[in-house]
């Protein structure tokens, strides 16, 4: 068959949407992998309901996967899809509002039955009633064409129908000239145990590809050239995977065995799943009876000398509060990974939010300060995990790492680091007595390192270092129980001072201000990095000046942060939280600490910010300056 013409594009945003049972996440994943291996820059946004399979054909049952890919460096999964693949009327209805006029819509006409239309409240068929006029609609009988293509296979009709996502993937792969070997190899492995199903899927995929070449509906196909990223070897990676790898790497770089205590919870469970595979690396994973036991076991392992981690989401962090407080009092290293989701309470488990910052800061009884770090992008989860491990082991303190649902499931290209280039995290365990008491060499568990204020990490099994620690207030140096007023005051101050001392080990705030003339600083943390960055680019492209800085360290802040903030006439802090009436959770901390009139831009919609929207906000702030 003659290949059609190829048109060049610099970027495309595609959204796959269908029923929970339609395999949209898989389709999106595969398309992403193809795109990654082609060398585009990319960013993804899976978006699915909390139900495993919500009722077929309903709005709550729609599962979607969005992918933004480009020939240049991009920062977000995109605001508005250029192409929507809608597997049924519900998928069309749920996503239409996000499309710009002129967007392409590929619909599976087979599902546009009277019954399905009624289910989602379409009074008439939008494919016929002219309501989609503004769009470029490609009506395709995806299901029946798939079934037709598979009619010679010895599989049930249901099984044949299920392959329609591969037909769609084949079509899209053709449309954007994606490499296909990876997907074919993937299908062969995935369905290795049922060769009929495997062949059916391969055939569906290939039929979809051929359909693209043949049909008149698509007159050209598109190409998006590989992106000129920094040289190196790349892979596509999601946040939860990057975080898991970061922990494995931290274990190896520290020489400590990795121990994960966890209780499944969306969207953190994949960290447990991933780490449970890595027994080759000596990783121990413990699925506990609840979150309290999970963090308890991790603390026990930390006491025993493991690089101890517990992973959870908001409700689980609440449950772990008391034990994290014990960790603060015991001064043991512990990494607490909190993959934030929309709250309060059960909230919207599969949707993202950044509303646990203040919980992480203050959600424990008494004054129990812990360092807090947050990754800015899926791949950055790797580095942030290493940083959390560094702080925890150096300062002997629980560290909270705040990821979120978007980072967890979203993905982007990652330049694979050289292991030897990763930070050296080796720790020094106590091996000797460190004091003399009544003329006898003795080990005192609360004698501190003068720089870090860390106390010794003395492992059970070290002869001569037998000692007892506990959650009751303890005397300085000896660690014995003490109710002495002055000692308590001193210990509370010391634990705070130790956390504050982390600031001396982190770099200054990095501000991006290409023109050097910006009067407005946009400051963020966590997963808003992409949208804020993209928005700033747009604002600058429109000829305005704006500076951007993004915090990895939320507690303590970089030492120079106050000074940086004061350099600007206005500080804008976009956050996916409301901040309890204080204008945002980070805003609140900044205002309290630096008395800077930081202004929040706040949304809790369970979805990342749209770059466009942020650009508009930034523009307004810039223009409103006196």
């Amino acid at each position: 068959m003659a290949t059609k013409g190829v048109r060049q594009l610099d970027r495309v945003i595609i959204r796959f949407a269908g029923d929970s049972g339609d395999g949209m996440q898989l389709t999106g994943d595969r398309f992403t992998t193809e795109t990654a291996s082609f060398g585009n820059d990319l960013s993804t946004l899976p978006d699915f309901p909390a139900e495993i399979r919500a009722p077929a054909g309903t709005l709550p049952g729609v599962s979607a996967f969005q992918l933004h890919f480009a020939d240049h460096d991009i920062m977000t999964p995109g605001d508005r899809p250029d192409v929507l693949v809608a597997m049924n009327p519900a998928a069309l209805k749920a996503n239409l509002d996000d499309l710009e006029r002129g967007a392409d819509i590929i619909v599976n006409t087979d599902e546009f039955t009277k019954r399905n239309l009624t289910k989602v409240g379409y009074p008439s068929n939008p494919l016929d009633d002219g309501s989609l006029e503004a769009y470029n609609v490609h009506p395709i009988a995806l299901t029946s064409m798939t079934v037709e293509a598979l009619k010679d296979f010895d599989i049930s009709k249901k099984e044949a129908e299920r392959a329609k996502n591969m037909f769609a993937l084949g079509l899209l792969s053709w449309l954007y000239n994606r490499p296909t070997e990876g997907t074919l190899a993937f299908l062969r492995t995935k369905f290795a145990r049922s060769p009929q199903i495997m062949e059916a899927n391969v055939t569906a995929f290939e039929t979809g590809w051929s359909f693209g070449e043949t049909t008149e509906d698509f007159s050209v196909s598109y190409e998006v050239k590989p992106a000129q990223l920094a040289p190196g070897r790349y892979r596509n990676i999601s946040g939860n995977l990057a975080l898991s790898y970061g922990l494995v790497a931290a274990a190896q770089r520290s020489g400590l065995p990795l121990f994960l205590g966890s209780y499944p919870i969306t969207p953190a469970s994949d960290i447990l799943h991933e780490l449970s595979k890595h027994k080759r690396f000596g990783v121990r994973t413990f699925q506990a009876e609840d979150e309290i036991a999970a963090v308890g076991a991790a603390l026990g392992a930390a006491y025993g000398g493991s690089l101890a981690v517990t992973s959870t989401s908001g409700p689980g962090l609440a449950l772990k509060a008391e034990t994290i407080g014990l960790g603060v009092s015991l001064e043991l290293p512990l990494i607490v990974v909190n993959v934030q989701r929309a709250g309060p309470s059960t909230g919207m488990p599969t949707k993202t939010e950044q509303a646990d910052l203040l919980q992480a800061m203050f959600g424990r009884n008494g004054e129990a300060p812990v360092p807090i770090v947050a990754p800015r992008s899926p791949a950055d989860c790797f580095d942030t995990a290493l940083e959390a491990a560094r702080i925890a082991t150096t300062f002997r303190v629980p560290v909270i790492l705040l990821s979120d649902g978007y980072l967890a499931n979203g993905s982007e290209p990652w330049r694979i680091p050289e292991v030897a280039d990763l930070p050296d995290l080796h720790v020094q365990f106590a091996t000797e007595t460190n004091a003399e008491v009544d003329g006898r060499a003795t080990f005192l568990p609360y004698v501190r390192d003068s720089a870090t204020l860390a106390r010794p990490w003395a492992l059970p099994g070290t002869a001569g270092l037998e000692h007892r620690i506990g959650g009751i207030e303890k005397a300085d140096r000896t660690g014995n129980i003490s109710y002495d007023p002055a000692n308590h005051d001193f210990m509370v101050r010391t634990r705070q001072a130790k956390v504050d001392a982390v600031a001396a080990t982190i770099g200054p705030t990095e501000v991006e201000d290409p023109s050097g003339r910006a009067r407005v600083l946009v400051l963020g943390w966590g997963s808003t990095y992409g949208p804020i960055g993209a928005a700033c680019r747009r604002v600058r492209a429109a000829g305005k000046d704006v500076a951007q800085a993004h915090l990895r360290h939320l507690n303590p802040f970089p030492a120079d942060l106050g000074e940086v903030l004061r350099r600007y006439d206005k500080v804008l802090v976009p956050e996916m939280n409301l901040g309890y009436g204080f204008g945002g959770q980070l805003s609140m901390l900044l205002r309290a600490k630096y008395l800077v009139d930081a202004v929040g831009y706040n949304q809790v919609r369970g979805m990342p910010f749209k770059a466009d929207e942020l650009a508009a906000v930034i523009t307004t702030v810039t223009e409103d300056l006196p």
Partner: protein, 353 residues
């Protein structure tokens, strides 16, 4: 003096002979004068040398309560944690350190009220832990509220008209939770307690030892029938594996099995000796041990003590270690830097030049 405990074969041995004194710390013991905890502490300190373990490889982990102060008085490694969570913390420690002998000290409130879930899950998993549950049937440290082992109708600070809930029988609960080792002893009976500790130490997996402990301030004489020379023989059933279950000064009481499977108390003189139930601590089916647990009356009119059950079944930390050994062993030791590089790269990569 030191014995051989195959269950502790992975724990380094002491380099020198030890005595009880070696296990005492310089900390003043802060229990009320007369508290039963003192006796248990003394028993444990004198028993420890028998294990012949390097002191630094022993860890005591406790929760919160009077009894949970225990670790401060043991010159081993120790952690006084938070209320109810000691089994969870100890699980993480035991599952990551095969070379330690890990002991949990807990109270009836700590273990059975706030910590109930961790306890039953530790028992189910069969992690290598020895759990000493000091049961004084009261909350001591918080000054005398009723506990999940207090008798129904108990008048305490929080139940001035009497408590409304029937107590747990900790042995029954443990057996229902698949415990592989369950025993009961009494603070004041040093010899019996030591024997039970010995059996617990010899067990691989989780061992739960319930120790009746007198709180002379808030629940004094709670276990008096078992201690008073005038009554104790009449009410204490000393379980011994392989022996017929009899008690009384002249072993005049015994049990036979009644048709509904519960145990019936009889006078030994009235039944043929062969009808008497013989204790089998190693029966794989926990039914026998459960039946025995039901012989106990909350009123202490009858109380079995000793080892109810002691069977081998898969041990969580052993299995975990096996999985890791298998994974690392196949290719000679745990994965190194190269393999990490491979992991990070995965299978789908591309290169930008």
């Amino acid at each position: 003096m030191t014995q051989n405990f195959p269950s502790l074969s992975l724990v380094p041995k002491a380099r020198e002979a030890q005595s009880a004194k070696d296990f005492k710390t310089d900390q003043e013991v802060r229990w009320c004068p007369g508290c039963g905890d003192y006796a248990v502490l003394a028993a444990v300190q004198s028993f420890m040398p028998e294990l012949g373990l390097a002191r630094e490889n022993i860890v005591f982990v406790s929760g919160i309560g009077c009894s949970s102060r225990f670790p401060y008085y043991m010159d081993t490694f120790g952690m006084h944690s938070i209320h109810g969570r000691a089994p969870a913390i100890a699980t993480g420690l035991a599952a990551s350190r095969q070379d330690l002998s890990v002991w949990v000290v807990t109270g009836d409130g700590d273990a059975l009220s706030i910590g109930g879930n961790h306890l039953i899950h530790a028992l189910r998993r069969n992690v290598n832990l020895k759990i000493l549950l000091f049961n004084n049937r009261i909350y001591g440290l918080t000054k005398g509220q009723y506990s999940p082992t207090s008798e129904l109708g108990k008048i305490t600070k929080s139940t001035p008209l009497g408590s409304l809930d029937s107590p747990f029988n900790p042995v029954s609960l443990a057996l229902g939770a698949e415990a592989s080792f369950v025993a009961r002893s009494i603070d004041s009976d040093r010899k019996h307690l030591t024997a039970v500790l010995r059996a617990a130490a010899a067990h691989r997996g989780t061992a739960l030892v319930e120790i009746y402990q007198n709180c002379n301030i808030f629940n004094d004489n709670a276990f008096e029938p078992l201690k008073d020379p005038a009554t104790r023989d009449e009410v204490t059933i000393r379980l011994e594996h392989g022996q017929p279950i009899t008690w009384g000064a002249g072993a005049e009481h015994g049990v036979v099995r009644s048709p509904d499977s519960s145990l019936k108390v009889v006078e030994t003189a009235d039944v043929p000796a062969s009808d008497l139930v013989v204790h089998d601590a190693h029966a794989m089916d926990p039914s026998h041990a459960f039946d025995l647990s039901r012989l106990a009356e909350t009123s202490l009119a009858r109380t079995p003590i000793g080892v109810f059950r002691d069977v081998d079944r898969p041990v969580y930390d052993d299995l975990m270690r096996e999985q890791i050994d298998r994974a690392t062993g196949t290719q000679g030791g745990p994965a190194g830097e190269d393999e990490l590089t491979g992991l990070l790269a995965g299978s789908d990569t591309w290169t930008v030049r």
